[in-house]
């Protein structure tokens, strides 16, 4: 395997044929300013030390790598390890990126932060760091997501954020991103756009990946220590925009024997509009600043998507995943809503861990593969906890009352 980890993206933000920058011209200079600021801090020991301290003292890193013995025994095959990002402050991996970007915002002198959110986890993490750093915070959220993630909406407001409902299209993450970009096109002088996934115009896929790499860096060290020097056979993570998965995968890219699989939302079936499985139903295209695989109709209009988990419900996917997929370095599959709900139930019963429905997609894939993989080891990224999804779980499990 060539030096894939360090060779991308190039200066224009390209990951092979994917990525790049496709932005309204007014935002090109703000994006270049952000890129320059980021490149300056990337090797700045003081910046990295401050971020490491925040990770340790504020958000609760390192997160454990937990051997899920009961689940592994129940499935009767592979040994499953869970990377416990769900134990982080605010309940998901999103805080990793937000702490990093908050430091960037401060360095650029931006006093106002805007963000999009799907499931609400990125919105909550953004609102949290804005409270911590005394920044004004506006979070755009699709009205459908507001409905199904009302607890997170309240959390954001409690943290002092202004949550703006977006009524357009499918009223989910895609429309929230568009609205945040429109805001930023008029507010960039005072405002940092805290994009939450490994998406959007360059340099966002690079910045978000780098701030999420801590997941894989820790998991790699922890696994080496626990196993007496070997690496896991397979990494499994869910892929919405793809930030938790790229964070887990990236530090292992040079380890040719470590396989990796990203799990997309299979929704309620394979028809266009019923899922968010970009790699099985999508084609290369450009949406919201980046070139990647996109669910679209024959006229290039972006398709509506569906998933029980708001965080995976998006028509495009991070460009680095598109590149890894075409290289064959990572594989991508999907789990249905039902698979994910069942997996959430299984993990709750066998390990006492209620996963976010996004992360439950990764758990579902582990459940599917483990029986056929005796003697193998899996690391599953448990990217978030399920508290926010209790209402949806309850609706789907009426037998529990």
């Amino acid at each position: 395997m060539p030096e894939i980890a360090s060779s991308v993206p190039d200066e224009l933000g390209r990951f092979g044929d994917f990525g790049g920058r496709y932005a309204p011209e007014i935002l090109v200079t703000p994006l270049e300013d952000l890129d320059a600021t980021y490149r300056a801090v990337r090797d700045d020991a003081g910046f990295q030390a401050e971020l490491a301290t925040l990770f340790r003292q504020y958000s609760g890193r390192p997160t454990p790598l937990f051997h899920a013995r009961r689940l592994s025994e129940h499935l009767g095959g592979a040994s499953i390890y869970l990377k416990r990002e769900d134990l982080l402050h605010t309940g998901a991996h999103k805080i990793n990126n937000c702490l990093g970007q908050a430091l960037l915002a401060r360095r650029m002198g931006k006093r106002r932060v805007i963000a999009e959110t799907g499931a609400g986890q990125h919105g909550v993490a953004t609102a949290t760091v804005c409270a911590l750093f005394d920044l004004d915070c506006v979070v755009y959220m699709g009205s459908e997501d507001i409905r199904r993630q009302e607890l997170n909406v309240f959390r954001m407001r409690l943290l002092g954020a202004d949550v703006v409902s977006v009524e357009a299209g499918s009223c989910t993450l895609k429309e929230a991103i568009s609205e945040a970009m429109r805001d930023w096109a008029g507010s960039f002088e005072t405002t940092h756009y805290m994009l939450g996934s490994a998406l959007g115009p360059h340099p966002y896929p690079l910045i978000v990946r780098d701030f999420q790499r801590v997941i894989g860096v820790e998991a790699r060290e922890q696994f080496l220590a626990a196993s007496g020097g070997s690496l896991p056979d397979l990494l499994i993570a869910c892929v919405g925009g793809g930030s938790n998965s790229i964070g887990l995968f990236h530090p292992f890219l040079q380890d040719g024997d470590v396989a990796m699989v990203g799990v997309e939302a299979g929704g309620r079936g394979p028809g266009l509009g019923d899922h968010a499985a970009r790699f099985s139903g999508g084609l290369p295209g450009v949406l919201q600043g980046t070139k990647s695989y996109i669910l679209q109709d024959e006229d290039g209009q972006i398709a509506l998507t569906h998933s029980v988990s708001a965080g995976l419900d998006y028509a495009s996917v991070g460009p680095e995943h598109a590149w890894l997929r075409d290289l064959g370095r990572a594989r991508y599959t999907s789990c249905t809503d039902t698979d994910a709900l069942d997996a959430a139930s299984v993990l709750s019963r066998y390990e006492g861990i209620i996963p976010a429905l996004e992360s439950a997609h990764a758990v579902a894939e582990a459940i599917r593969r483990a029986p056929q993989a005796p003697g193998k080891t899996f690391v599953v990224n448990l990217s978030g906890r399920g508290d926010k999804d209790i209402g949806i779980l309850r609706e789907n499990m009426p037998e529990l009352g």
């Binding site: 920058r21 496709y22 932005a23 309204p24 935002l27 008029g186 006229d299 290039g300």
Partner: protein, 290 residues
């Protein structure tokens, strides 16, 4: 780093097409070009030719024909809603081209297709350029295609004789304005202010400095757009730009009167009002700084 603002002069774009002719004619008539935007297929594809006719009778010199897109990140609510209406009425890239084909039976007004990248990417650059040229489109502007990623598109368009229009903005450094202008044909589109499309009460003071900077970088005509919605905006920009783009003001009228037979008459009257604001005599050329 500051680049000397007058140091870069790209090679002039040769253009003898309808767009260039429109600017030349305006010059001779003592006015600036009125560039009217409307979304193709809003409220329905079979009405668009008639609406363009009304805009032309009112004095519009160039039509920017919006190709609807599901996720218009650079547009404000007025044009977002127009896109939604046009998509609901079944407007595809293919249908937009058919509209232009029909228009050409009765009108030679220059048409610039105004689209987001993805529908054109999906149609295929080569096929789009060929089909657009054959039905009588004169040029195109793809809002979310920056010059760094535009090489393939520009060469296909130019090979078919079509002009590519790109945007310059107040945040665009002088050196980049020159590079962007070097990719343009027909005219350079200067964005009057930060933010998205939409009606505004005043034109930002940033517009005039940007127009002056753009002028230094190109010999092409420069048109100004975003937020121009009143006759006095036309009067403000006429000394500084060869063209003024009006979008949301027309689109809002279409939205408000879409079921009304008087829509065409209203559009014509509004265009005429704007065009009057663009009267401009070459005697005031000194104001432009040439």
């Amino acid at each position: 780093m500051r680049v000397a603002e007058s140091s870069v002069t790209p090679s002039p774009q040769l253009n003898s097409g309808r767009i260039a002719q429109a600017f030349t004619r305006c010059d001779l008539e003592g006015s600036r070009a009125l560039i009217a935007f409307l979304t193709a297929g809003d409220p329905s594809p079979d009405r668009t030719v008639s609406l363009i006719g009304a805009l032309e009778r009112g004095g519009s010199d160039i039509i920017e024909l919006g190709v609807p897109f599901s996720d218009p990140i650079a547009d404000g609510p007025v044009i977002q809603r127009a896109s939604e209406r046009a998509l609901r009425s079944g407007t595809t890239v293919r249908k937009v081209l058919r509209i232009v084909e029909e228009l050409r039976r009765t009108s030679q007004i220059p048409v610039v297709a105004f689209s987001y990248l993805n529908p054109v990417l999906r149609y295929g650059f080569e096929r789009f350029a060929a089909d657009a040229a054959s039905v009588g489109v004169d040029g195109a502007l793809l809002t979310d295609l920056n010059i760094e990623e535009a090489a393939g598109y520009v060469s296909e368009m130019n090979a078919s004789g079509l002009d590519c229009v790109f945007l310059v903005t107040q945040t665009t450094p002088q050196e980049r304005i020159a590079r962007i202008a070097g990719h343009c044909g027909g005219f350079v589109y200067a964005v009057s202010r930060a933010g998205v499309t939409g009606v505004r009460s005043s034109i930002a003071s940033d517009a005039v400095p940007l127009l002056r900077r753009t002028r230094r970088a190109t010999s092409l005509p420069v048109a100004i757009g975003f937020g121009l919605s009143q006759r006095r905006h036309m009067e403000e920009v006429a000394p500084f730009a060869e063209g003024a783009v009006v979008g949301s003001a027309f689109v809002r009228l279409i939205e408000e009167h879409s079921r009304d037979e008087s829509l065409e008459a209203r559009l014509e009257a509004l265009a005429r009002e704007f065009k009057r604001g663009l009267d401009w005599s070459p005697a005031s050329d000194a104001a432009v700084g040439r």
